[in-house]
Structures are given as C-alpha cells and as structure tokens.
Subunit: 340 residues, 2 copies
C-alpha cells in the first residue's frame, strides 16, 4: 500500500538491457571514443528508457576522490551564493568534496591556503585577489598542489583559469551610456589590488577616449568595491559643481550606494542621473530602480573551476586550460538619456 521507491538502475542494468558488458556501457557513459556507433546507440537508448543516472559517489571511489579546496573572499558577498551554488552543483555531479575556507577568517591569506594544503586537498580554487598573488602561487607549487585562478583579470599562460573579459564588459557598459547620449560620465572604481578593478577602469577610459570624450580626473572616484566606499565616492561625485549625468560603478554594491546617495539628494533616477553597475548580483534587483548592469555567469564559472580543479588533481591531468565566461549587458531601469 505504501508508495514503494524502486531501486535506481545501475550500469549493469543498462548493460543487460543493451546486451553488452557493463564495461562497454561505462565507456559510453563516459564518452570514451572507441565504441562502435551501433553499440553506442543501443546503450544510449537503454540509458534513456531506464532513466539511468550514474552514481557519482561510486565512481569517485574508483577514480580516487579529490578533495578540492575553495577559498572565498567576501569581496562582493552577493556573488557568494552563486559562486557556491555553481561549485557545489558541479562537485556533487563529479563526486568530489569541496573544502571551503573564508580567506578573511585568517590573519593572512597565505595561512588560509596553508590550512587547505594541510587538510590534504588535491588542488585549490583561488578567487581574486589571491589568484594574482605570486607568493601564494609559488608556495602552492612547492607543496605540489595545483591552483585554478577564478575571475582573475590576468590569466597566466599555461595555468588553469576561469575568467571574464572585464575590459570588454566595461567597454560594453560605457558604450551603452555614450549611445544613450551621455557625455559627463563618472566612474567609481573598485579595489586597485584586484586585477579586475584595473581592467574595468581601463575599459572605461579607452572607450571614452575612442568616443572622443575626456575623462575629468574629478570624475573618477575610489569605492574599493564596497557599499560603504561607494557611499563616499557618490557623495564626492554628486556634490561636484558640474554634476555628471551618469555614474558607472565597477560593481553593483557601489552602484547601489550611488543610488542611495542620489535618492538622499532628491535626485530622480534615471531622469536626473543614470546609474550603471557591474556583476548583476542580487542587489541589482533589490534596489529601486533596478540597475542596468553587466551579468557574468558566476555559477557556471564556479562549476568550470571545479572541473578544472579536478583535472588538475588527477594523475594525468591536463593543466593550463582557460575557460572564459560569457558577458551580457542587462538593461534595466536605472539608465536613460541624460536630462537636456
């Protein structure tokens, strides 16, 4: 009478249904090339009809589990959940274990890394600014632990990295603002220690220059990638004698801060002031009006990073792969043509 949960099909069931050995079935599942097309088709059909899903845990016992270390810095915390989601999704799919360590929980980042190494991780995923830290990279190499750089703006040749083209993203957004008719465009830059901050600023400056627009020095303020820093930058920018008609902040947290200050000054957005962000984190849609921003596929990128990290931990691991995330301009309500 009770609803019986039927046993999940194993690879042997698949093999039997397809009339082959389980080894052949395994090869098909894993995309091993040297299987005849006819056989492959039969197996694939059996997989479909049985609804077979490989048991990643069992697989991991055989292939050797990799314990993968993952650092995180709280830089833009709204990104964190996406980062984790993507990483964990991939981890459970490939049957590896993730050891997460908040780097700011340690006196120095190097100690956070050391803790992971001591725990026996096979490789590590390094977000900025750690992924650009030569000392850390070197100590990792000495310990024989591979590193995957995550979201670095300067992927090193021959080292695995997942990244976006921050430069191109900043170009896109600057272009968008210029196309809208803005001329007096201000920029709130991130933490200069992050390579991404530098690239985003470069993208902004070059696009402006190419459009024949000058970037007034007073129009570039430091926000350090934090909400609080953005608050100060915004206060500076919006109290200038000649106020910019658009402010492009190097991340959403700072853009949200600009929005808060603008509201405080009684400015209406986007009629009086256009605001643009970067990252498309959750704050972009919680503030009002919602922010025009650049979306980066953080979750997918984290998943790729885990995949690279696993390859790295494996004996015959192929190192040096680069994966680039696809950027997208998300146009929302915070940008419009400048007031005339």
């Amino acid at each position: 009478m009770s609803t019986q949960r039927r046993q999940a099909p194993t690879i042997h069931d698949v093999a039997q249904a397809a009339g082959v050995s389980s080894m052949t079935a395994s090869r098909v599942v894993n995309g091993y090339p040297h299987v005849r097309q006819a056989v492959r088709d039969k197996v694939e059909e059996a997989i479909k009809t049985l609804g077979y899903r490989p048991n990643s845990l069992a697989r991991a016992t055989r292939t050797g589990v990799s314990l993968i270390g993952m650092l995180y810095s709280n830089a833009s915390s709204s990104n964190l959940s996406n980062y984790l989601m993507g990483a964990f999704r991939q981890a459970s799919q490939s049957g590896c274990q993730l050891l997460i360590e908040p780097s700011q929980a340690h006196p120095t980042p190097a100690q956070a890394v050391q803790k992971l190494v001591d725990a026996g991780v096979g490789s590590v995923i390094l977000p900025p600014p750690l992924c650009d830290d030569a000392a850390i990279l070197e100590s990792l190499e000495k310990a024989g632990v591979g590193a995957v750089s995550f979201a670095t703006a300067f992927p090193r040749e021959g080292a695995p990295a997942v990244f976006i083209d921050d430069f191109a993203g900043a170009r896109m957004m600057t272009r968008h603002l210029i196309d809208l008719g803005h001329v007096d465009i201000a920029f709130v830059r991130g933490d200069p220690a992050h390579s991404t901050a530098q690239r985003r600023e470069q993208g902004f400056r070059e696009t402006m220059a190419q459009a024949g627009l000058t970037v007034n020095d007073a129009y570039v303020a430091d926000g350090g990638f934090s909400y609080r820093g953005g608050l100060e930058a915004a206060r500076h920018l919006l109290n200038l004698r000649r106020r910019p008609s658009a402010i492009f902040a190097a991340n959403d947290d700072m853009a949200a801060a600009v929005s808060a200050v603008a509201h405080g000054l009684g400015l209406s957005i986007p009629a009086d002031l256009s605001i643009a962000g970067f990252d498309d984190t959750s704050v972009a849609t919680t503030v009002w009006p919602e922010l025009t921003t650049i979306r980066q596929p953080i979750a997918d990128m984290a998943a790729s990073a885990v995949k690279l990290a696993m390859d790295l931990a494996r004996p015959g691991g192929e190192p040096g792969v680069h994966v680039q995330g696809e950027l997208q301009l998300i146009e929302r309500a915070s940008t419009a043509a400048p007031p005339r």
Copy 2:
C-alpha cells in the same frame, strides 16, 4: 624531488596498526556498542596516530546514497550563502547528495517540489513559506517523501523541524531598545505570509505592552521583508509628525532600507535615530553604521536540517525531531540612547 602526497590511511591501516580486523575498526569508528573497552582504546589510538578520517563517499556506496532535495526561496538572499554553506558542509560529511531547487524558478512552489520528487529524492528540506503550506506537505506525504521544515515559526508536533524562537528574538531586541531609554519605537513588519513575520511582530508587541508602552498603529508599517518594501515603510515612518526615536525592522534588508532613507533625510544614526535589524546577514555589516541585529546560526541550522533529512530518508529513520537554533543579540553602532 617533487613533494609526494602520501596516500590517506584507510580503515585497514587502522585495523592493522591496532592488531584487529577492519571490521572491528569499523565498528569503533561508527560507535557500535558491543566492543570491549580495551580493543576500542587501541583502535582509537591508532586512528589518532595515523590521522585517519573515514571516506564518506565509500561509506555512502555501501549504506546507500540518499539524495536530498533542498528548496530555497530568495526571501533574504544574504542568508542564502550561509544556508548553502552549512547544508553542503553536512552533506559532504555524511556523504549524501543535495539537489537544490530555487522555488521561485517555477510558476508555483508545488511544481518545484514535484520536480524534486520526480528526481527521486528521499526527503526534502522546506524553507518558509513552503514549510507552512499544508497543501505541499500533504502532497509530499502522499508521494512518501519526508519533509524537514526549516526556519518555520510554527514547528509541527511530530514532524522534523529546525527553527529559532522568533518570538524570543523579537523580545530581546525590543527589550534592548527599551533599556536604552526608547519609548517611541516603530516596527517594520515582514511578509505576513511568513509565519516568522507574525511571531516577530508578536514578540515586539508583547514586550512593549509588558513595559507599559503603547504601540501606536501608525508606528507599525509593512515592509514585506524586502529592501524595497522597507524603503516605503521608512518613508512613511520618518515623515510622521511625531517621529519615532527607534525603528525595529523585522529583517536586516528592511533595516538597511530604513538606514538609507534616514541618511537621505539628513538624520544621523544613532544620534537622531536608532535602527535595529534581525538575522545578521551580510548587509548588516555592509551598511554604515553597522546594524544592531539578532544573529541566527543559519549555517548550523542548515546542517542540522540535512542531518534530519538523512534520518528521514533512511529505512529506520526516527522522525519528529526538533532542533532549535540559538539566538544572539549583536550590538553594533546603529542603536544608542534616544536624543533628549
């Protein structure tokens, strides 16, 4: 020359070192009762000296993996990362797989649940408001899939649940404000559909009443648990003829919104206005000044939920356990004595 990573010790190594069979070692590791103390001690020492850590993946292949479904609603997204962190930590420790599903990615919550059931999960973890939804609970029961309620304010007798005492938390904070000398205290309430919102409001009202303070109806505004809702509530509250000297918002997102509006009006915090939040999410420390709030141990609670869910999915699972998270008042810079 290269740093060789030594193989992790297996239970067989432990057994050999202790001079027993691996079976006995296994029993000790798992706390099986019928092992002589002398033998147990020997094994435990071997575990320590070898630094043995059980391989949870291998264990899971034998005990049968449980696939556990986990819904999430984006209510307070800042909580999400903690929720995920705790859940995944526990999951990898107990060797189960987590299937995450954002409930708002589906037209109705019921469909999100159905998707998990179809995927073959052994049990589900339900955050609010789903955990209080009778229809969903019933359909789950019909499908023979157990449910663990997460953060519900009304844990059902005999059903597994992880929760906090929202009522007590609201009391703590209200008490704190009253002790500071506040009399005109306003409240921004959450989404009435969430049971937690109701309990928090009750806690506020009762504490006020017990202190002999009246709660003016105009002093209670709706914020719907969102930043945007908080913005409107704050605008209402701060434009009242007789402005409150303190505002207690039922979550941090709304408290942050109150802070933004107050800044906009040129009020200084906490000199002119005290602001209190609830949850201690990351926004509490990103806004300035940092928010006094109530911390709930989300990560630990999520870990407990996973544990309960696993018990539920097992054949001889013990249902009906309740786990209560420990609340804590975090006093930061946003509250102080009222202006005189």
